[in-house]
Symmetry: C2
Subunit: 284 residues, 2 copies
Amino acid sequence: MSSSENKTGATPPTIGVFDSGFGGLTVLRALLARLPRARFAFLGDTARLPYGSKSRRTIARYAAQSAQFLVREQGAEFVVIACNTASALALDAIQDAVPVPVLGVIEPGAAAARAASVTGDVLVIATAATVESHAYATACRALGLRVLEKACPLLVPLVEEGWIDHPVTAEVIRIYLAELTAEAAAMGLNPDTLVLGCTHYPLLRSLFERAVPAGMRVIDSAESLAETAVRLFNGRAAPLAAGPAPAEPLLRFFATDSVEKFERLGSRFLDRPVGNVELVDLGG
Amino acid sequence: MSSSENKTGATPPTIGVFDSGFGGLTVLRALLARLPRARFAFLGDTARLPYGSKSRRTIARYAAQSAQFLVREQGAEFVVIACNTASALALDAIQDAVPVPVLGVIEPGAAAARAASVTGDVLVIATAATVESHAYATACRALGLRVLEKACPLLVPLVEEGWIDHPVTAEVIRIYLAELTAEAAAMGLNPDTLVLGCTHYPLLRSLFERAVPAGMRVIDSAESLAETAVRLFNGRAAPLAAGPAPAEPLLRFFATDSVEKFERLGSRFLDRPVGNVELVDLGG
């Protein structure tokens, strides 16, 4: 299929959305709800996931290649990095690699925490790689927040196993939150906000809301990213308000491996069927 | 360091042990107990794990490169593939890639199940990739066994989180085994043997032994592999019985990424400290 249709004035602009896997489909879901007239190209670099165990240099190379695919091959005029690890470790490298605006997930999450918190103390849970980068801590501190981060490595496998509303998952969340709040108390923090710093975690949002202490706000970084992207996008691209919305959203899905798993699990994240995932080879 | 010392008659022969990560250290632990005079080189291809989400062609290329490193750079005279995915999908390719004997983990596990089972019906649990390959089912059926396989994708993350003797892990095992035995009963099987078809699972052996139905045997594929390797090795290499055993085992560890995590978690698998992991670059 040619990408020339993306370059005519008659079609809406394309937003490229990138993740190392398919967790970023929660961001696409949030974007679709806000920009039903846009055209989206989603790439999951599934052959090379997880990024979390890899070096910064390798992650930057993979993410830059992925962004270039979305811009050069799919005509994306705006790229959303729906991957916490790539945002935390490689946002600059991606911005250098493509000539279009690139938005990562960390800053919008930190800004939403700043807006939500009264005490100024926030908790962030994420994958090990995101926590080790301290990208959320840096972004939160730049906004005057005090922050405690914790890696929760069991949550992604639990989501991928489909144990979304499962007593084992509820118990794992209870244990992680108990450890985190005890550590926060020992540090003299009084947190009132919890940031879900991984694009898999929105599927567990209701479990988190039942598990957090009374009054604690739960911030979904996927929602925060989508809100920020819509603001930036509407400021730069004109035609989304004009013309009729399509009956079906204009979506294309690409993966570098595991198309079958992508189609099977992706619908859970997107909350609608994910069909016709196209296999692409980015090398490496 | 030169590898020439491996080629003199004065030093014991080197056994190369390979895994995509460090789960294979359970195999090295079992080998060390049986061959305390051997010299071992262990390679974890941690930069490219997990192999489970990758295609057979890619796994074969990665595993062949890893085996070649052990033979060419470390002078290994025998290679043990302590990785179920690589054994299941790429044993032939690895054997073609190096001029020394190569032993995988599947056949020894199946042979141990054949020796243990009275009813002839066995259960195999493993990662999703190993189950999807049906390598255990093929090997077991070739020995006249009936077999039911099940993927247990939460167990590796639970081990890596350190929840080795944890109520959540016990509950996850209970759920998986209940699903597996119910399915076996529905198929008319009468299983009396459970094969732990992943090199992470030996760390959960005591939980499994408490969870299985009374009388069911638990087969550790790492132990089975080590026993077979020792038999084959003693048939081919002479000097292991001669000379004094070293005060400290002759071990070198190599990883393609994540040296810190390897050292931190590896000691749990090896049951002794893992220090001085050397970083190697295999390309790709």
